[in-house]
Amino acid sequence: MKYGILIAVLAVSLLVAGCVEQPKETQQGVEEIRIGVVAPLTGGASTTGTDMWQAAVLAADEINAQGGVLVNGTYLKVKLFKGDTETSREGGVKVVTKLITNDEVDFLIGGFSSGITYADQVVAAEHKVPFIITGASSPIITRRDDIDTSYFFHHCPTTDDYPDSTLLFVDEIVKPLIDERYNFPENRTLRLGVIYQDSKYGEGVYDGIKKAIEEHNLNMEIVSAEKFKMSETDFRTPLTVMKAANPDVVYPAAFLNEQALIVSQGRRDVGLDTIYLSVECNDDTDYYTGVEKWGEYSIQESRFGPYVIPAGPISSAVVKFKADFENKWGAPPSMMGASTYEGVYIAAEAIKNLGGTLDKEEIRASLAELEIPQIIEVMQNGVITFSPDYRESKFDLYMEQLIWNETVGETRPKIVWPDSVKETDFVLPDWYKPGGP
């Protein structure tokens, strides 16, 4: 009897499922563009994931409010599908499979965390679904050779890009100030401490640091390199070891919560009073709250932050995006939200050029040839385009220094490099202690 009921329920479910009309296409042709937004909507990174989803919704709403994407004289609406990775590799694989096989999406956008994306992109590669990656920073995502990566388009800076810009800034601005204050000879080698997460992201940044020093022939040496486990909360021991190595500058490759603890434990508990550098993903309101006064004078590499608007041609677009996002969702957008917002526009532009088809190979080819003006983040040469080798778009990164703001009781960033967007000069604080001679 029990099994009879079960079989009857199954049969009715299958019948109902078969009768439900799938809205993607009618006999006349394509009706909508189906985009799967792959983001951690639950779990440890849910704040970022939610922000990515909300930014994608804002972009889709804006496009649909204009009627949709104009293709061959017909307007196609953008329809988004939630793809919650649950901040896990298994969750990512599961949801990407669902988006492709069940929701039949034309594009995937998002992909926060290199580890998760590394796992779930395998499914997208098997089904040859174009994936605009806006949140995973490891360059391996579009460079691995065990799967076909030609459908992956990387629209966020990679772990090679962060150290490249950051160390150029240190070499150009920070090192001369240290040398001058402490009467060090100009040819003195800058002592760098690196503390990095035991993950593709952390190791990617560490490799990027070594590459940047070598490629630009920078007068720097890594005097201490400490590795820590993802989600670690106690950094006192590795920072104590690092302090004993006398670094001039400390470069953590860490996520927001880890970075705030590294800086606060380093300065408060260990007495490692140095200049801390920070990777762009930490340019977030939570970071400024979490790091408290200990973050003062530290350096934040960025491309989109909650508290600065770089001068230049996109500043009004950034102001509008931030205002629209805050009006719609009641909180400011994050960096991952910004690139995901652009991801939806990139997808829409790619479709425009196709003449009404949603063939995935044609979408891939259209993305590969795409060249559109920068939207809300400063791009190299002012355009969004993907490199022919590894399909990476190239950003112009800038450096912010955190300055204490008595009114809000937190630090706030000011752009100190490069000159084209600089708001103020970099300050070497009085409490700064240099490394060995």
Partner: protein
């Protein structure tokens, strides 16, 4: 190896050990009396940290003075968990108890995310700028206070268990539940009391983590809970002295051993960081103890 660096790291190890001890003692109290392993114990740490955060935020009191209030709140939460969740399934099988406590992990994490979002929150210790410097060693006052608070908690627990009627009744219940019942002890009340005390100790651990700069979010309890389970198993299930010794051993070993490993490979001309090996070291110790003494250092064989 520089002696100053060694002593400094020893202090960090003792601090980590204090947090493990507070968590593990709570787990042991609950297991000792109820024979239940509460896998959601890390979530009590998280709720305790939130309790301190909110009381501190709204009252502006010295965060150390807020800890007793957080302990009382979590003790009440502990009583509710025992009455509403564990008591109805007591005696229905270990599997039910395990899955119930695993379910509570997700319930508490998701409720915390709904009520307080997944944003990380922190508070500011009034003594965060104060340190005692002894040569090259830097001893922030907050860590000295934490070691003192842990010692006070342990002494108070010891006095309660040895001198107070309720404490003796708890010990009797943990030694032999049936005999305790026959002696007129209300063992169900002892269950409630053990959960209340266990939750209060977890609240202390969570609050102390928060005061030393850790950020609280709904998922912050998971990792310390795993360490606390390792402490409980190494020290012996249900053993308070075992939890103290194992907690300190683990805290110190996790911090010192990577340093020795780094130093040792350095002698071979290799440069490697072993800081990410903390958990591995904890579980290597656990395996060694279990192989040599399967009941843990102070554990007793079940009859």
């Amino acid at each position: 190896m520089d002696l100053g660096v060694f002593i400094q790291i020893l202090v960090w190890g003792i601090y980590a050990g204090c947090i493990y001890i507070l968590l593990a003692i709570g787990l042991n109290l609950i297991f000792g009396v109820m024979k239940v392993v509460n896998f959601a114990h890390g979530e009590l740490l998280m709720l305790g940290a939130y309790a301190t955060f909110w009381i501190y935020t709204f009252s502006g009191l010295n965060p150390y003075l807020v800890i007793p209030l957080a302990m009382i709140i979590l003790a009440i939460v502990g009583v509710f968990i025992e009455r509403l969740c564990f008591r109805p399934i007591m005696g229905t099988g270990k599997l039910n108890e395990i899955f119930l406590s695993l379910g509570l992990i997700y319930l508490f994490q998701n409720l915390a995310a709904v009520f307080w979002t997944t944003d990380s929150r922190s508070i500011h210790s009034p003594y965060s700028d104060v340190s005692i410097t002894l040569g090259s060693i830097n001893l922030p006052v907050d860590y000295i206070i934490i070691i003192v608070i842990t010692a006070i908690c342990l002494i108070a627990l010891q006095l309660f268990m040895k001198k107070a009627t309720l404490g003796r009744a708890m010990r009797a219940t943990s030694q032999n539940r049936e005999a305790a019942t026959l002696m007129g002890i209300n063992v169900e009340r002892m269950d409630m009391l053990s959960f209340a005390l266990g939750a209060a100790f977890a609240a202390t651990a969570g609050s102390l983590c928060l005061i030393t700069g850790q950020m609280v979010n709904p998922y912050v309890g998971s990792i310390p809970a795993i360490e606390a389970f390792a402490v409980v198993i190494i020290g012996g299930l249900g053993s308070i002295p075992g939890a103290i010794i194992a907690g300190l051993t683990l805290g110190i070993a996790e911090n010192i051993v990577p340093l020795f490993m780094q130093y040792s490979v350095g002698l071979l001309g290799l440069e490697m960081s072993f800081s990410a090996w903390k958990d591995t070291i904890a579980f290597i110790i656990l395996i060694i103890v279990l192989v040599i003494r399967p009941t843990g250092i102070f554990g007793e064989k079940e009859e």
